[in-house]
């Protein structure tokens, strides 16, 4: 077996799964849920267990939490709707994309004003205009980056926390279901 600790960890985790589960994951080929390394390990495990390796479906690259929730959740949530959380995360991602575009547009419109302002402070010499443009561009970029980071970190952090919480809820739910099913 490999000396790579991550690979060993993945191997240990996946080796606890039954051959049927591994075959199902292999066939489903969900690349959003499983990494390339996981698929390598699954293949290795299937070969070790002497299973025939079937063909794979088209790889899935997108987050399909909404579908997964609708398919897998046997017991509805009481206090929130998972679909709404997924939609919220999608909106957060849209805002994160829209924000820098809007900031850049606004600052580019203001750029000539900044150039005039900076030029007024510079002494009169032959590269004054060029320097004014350079400083104005640097200032514009700094303003846009700082403005964007103020939006990016809270929103991205929030989206990540929500996804982790949803995963935690699904895990506690599924273990509760498996416990109930075991009874």
């Amino acid at each position: 077996m490999s000396n790579d600790p991550i690979r060993r960890h993945v191997y240990a985790y996946l080796s606890e799964k039954s051959t049927e589960e591994l075959l199902e994951t292999w066939r489903k080929n969900d690349r959003f849920e499983w990494t390339g390394l996981a698929f390598d390990v699954i293949q290795e495990l299937l070969i070790e267990r002497g299973a025939d390796i079937p063909g794979q479906n088209e790889p899935i690259w997108e987050y399909r939490a909404k579908d997964a929730i609708n398919d897998d959740l046997e017991e509805p949530t009481i206090f929130y709707k998972p679909g709404q959380v997924v939609r919220l995360c999608e909106w957060i991602n849209r805002v994160i994309i829209a924000a820098p575009v809007l900031f850049y547009t606004q600052e580019l419109i203001r750029l000539p004003g900044y150039v005039d302002l900076i030029r007024a402070y510079l002494p009169d010499f032959f590269i004054r205009d060029l320097l004014a443009w350079v400083f104005a561009l640097i200032y514009t970029n700094v303003v846009v980056v700082i403005g964007f980071l103020f939006i990016y970190f809270p929103l991205k952090g929030l989206a990540t926390v929500l996804q982790i919480l949803m995963d935690m809820d699904l895990r506690t739910r599924s273990s509760k279901l498996s416990y109930t099913a075991g009874e």
Binding site: T77, Q84, V85, V95, Q106, V161, M168, T172, Y179
Partner: protein, 122 residues
Amino acid sequence: LDIADELYTKKHERLQHYAMIAGVFAWLIAICYVMAAIGLLPSNWIWHIRTRGLPDEIAKNILEVFSYDPLIVFSVLVQFLKTILTGAVLALILKGISHGLHMLIEIDLNQKLLLQGESDEQ
């Protein structure tokens, strides 16, 4: 459901209350910012026209303003969109907090139910 009712404590009730307030505020903020963006449009429009040294009469015709200086129209539009974006960011954060608190209640109750089930089994 009776067991779930037993597990639902005052702490959960308080948390649910906060979540509800955050959810309501999210909508309020979204509406306020949209209204502010629309309300500020005329004053922004006039301000941009005056700072460019154009006469006030021209303000009534967007196409005429656009032909004089397209940047005025873009500036006002971007300002409008930025106000909406600010409102959207605040509303999304509050809505996220609301959902997060609801999820915490759900997780806590799930785990309590799970633990209770395990102790019953023993």
